[in-house]
Symmetry: C2
Amino acid sequence: MSDRPATLRDVAAAARVHPATASRALNPGTRLLVSEDTARRVIEAAERLGYRPNPVARSLRTRRSHTIGVLIPDLNNPLFPPIVRGLEDLLAKHGYVALIGNTDADITRERMVFDQMRARHVDGFVLATATLGNPILAQAAEANLPVVLMNRTAQGYPFSSVSVDNEQGERAAVAHLVSLGHTRIGHIAGPQQISTGVARLRGFQDGMRAHGLEPRDDQIVYATGYSIEEGLRCGLELLRARAGLTAMVVANDLLAVGCYGAFDELGVRCPEDVSIIGFNDMPFIDRLRPPLSTVRFPHYKLGTEAAKLLLERIEDADNPLKILYLAPELVVRGSAMPLAPAAASGGDALAGDAIAQDAIAGNAVPLRRGAQRRKR
Amino acid sequence: MSDRPATLRDVAAAARVHPATASRALNPGTRLLVSEDTARRVIEAAERLGYRPNPVARSLRTRRSHTIGVLIPDLNNPLFPPIVRGLEDLLAKHGYVALIGNTDADITRERMVFDQMRARHVDGFVLATATLGNPILAQAAEANLPVVLMNRTAQGYPFSSVSVDNEQGERAAVAHLVSLGHTRIGHIAGPQQISTGVARLRGFQDGMRAHGLEPRDDQIVYATGYSIEEGLRCGLELLRARAGLTAMVVANDLLAVGCYGAFDELGVRCPEDVSIIGFNDMPFIDRLRPPLSTVRFPHYKLGTEAAKLLLERIEDADNPLKILYLAPELVVRGSAMPLAPAAASGGDALAGDAIAQDAIAGNAVPLRRGAQRRKR
DNA sequence: TTGTAGGCGTTATCAC
DNA sequence: GTGATAACGCCTACAA
């Protein structure tokens, strides 16, 4: 009942053994080296004293901090909390904790956070921020640090990764729009220094070609980041450049939220005038008006899988690398609807353009409404 | 250029001094004990070798981990990410990192996380989960742990706290509704084991009385937690029990989101039929339809202030306790509108009830509010 | 099966 | 001012 926490020596003394013996008895890996009787005595004493091994001392000795560095762009992006929870929950199950670092997609901050975590001797990293050709990747590889890439891929590095099959997701999005009669479909692409940006663009293009639609350059606008502001900017640009578009595939939900703003600004109705499909199915996105159709992937699971891959790597350094893809799934809500017959049948670009121009000008455009789609 | 990171001994050797001297030279607090010349030599050597003090070893010696335990209900609640970022940013500025623990408002999990963090020798705690009379508060107090309560208060404990003036916020919400002509105003109260729950209820009651309105028991429904599901349940209950209500003050935005679901289910239009005001102004709540009017407080700042209070306490144990309140602010958006003249003047509870009952029964009720009621 | 001894990297407390 | 020494709490060869 002293106020200072019990130490291994205290336990040993209470059990009338040497601290080394107590240590062995307490560690599952070495327990079999000790007689069953003394083991019991030690364990009982430890319990009685409320003994908790000092993780700091243990770390110093074993050079394991049981701490994982996690780099994400920004916790405020609702996409990440569920992923982080998946990570934390699985790590906790194995006695690890996560140190979360927000980089704001700023390479300077990223470097700072990374160095800071290395100084703290984290046992490994989960990187959700890696841009293509990022120097910390090379550095981590050289230092032979256990690293798992999350929602990112980087070829040529000895890192496991877990991500989403982005191509497939966007192909499904395009296919869905085509099945609704759309042919003039635009794309807001993510940053091309980020693997998801290029993969989703490729998925969009492949999807278009699979339906005999050759995507033209002016149907694609490139965002410089995944943010609402960029979505607004790109949405405006895309609608103005290609007024004939009746649908758009957007590389990220936040960008789609920005597009909603662009719709308001231009007086375009969604989904009556233009359909839109996002990517991520981030929390609360189903509460917008209209609820956003999007490509979902299992956020929580992404986190747990990343954690598993990293722990595998940490516990057994020559565990083979794994590249894991989770299958996405199209979630149909209310932001995409069938194309009105006139526009659909003709392929009459002029007529379509005219209608959309009217819409942009704020005039009421009599497009036939499809059945209202609701969740469930 | 060895592969093992440079240690203090390496630096000392390179500077031809004793490790102890090197330590003194490197630590700002003890640098003045060392000749300026050698200090420079040591520092230069450290830089050359890329020396980074091993925080684990340092912790073992100084019994300071420079790590803070942060307990929150759930990172997935969009309210918390900005708060946590405020915390982390300020802590980082002082060389601390945060360990985030999600308790899911489950007392068992809370205890686990708390113990886990104590075992890791965190230097202090920020608690955003404390329920009234929670045993870990007593335990922390007894162990003399530095603790700051965030968005919670607990009288009788030696802890600093930073929270919002919840009473004032709800009084303002009531005043706003009254100014719009509402008199039949309901309240969905938060859990009464949580300080925000009782404070906001009191604020509601005070606000009503300040306008000569005595809140009746059947105008208040108690949620058992801050969640969308509870909001749905309570919203339904409140509207059914008091069909005459024209407005409601809800203790939390998530609860308000749940109420939106209740409105849909009952065919009640918001804000035409019933006005609603939330609390927290959580991210993305302004994107709902209608955009939620709510009581805002500075989330990020709440985090930074909590961190400051805690660090004060850690660096100087007999720093006086501080109870800090941040002023909230009413954010008027689209979920509250003036009461139609008829309802306002009449107080004709029966008529109101009848209409609402029909709505609840699922009938299409042409609540073309002004017109129909005026006829009666 | 158990005890001994040494060290992980740092800092605090002595002496000189 | 600087050096020597010990200790923080734990683990692990190695010896017994």
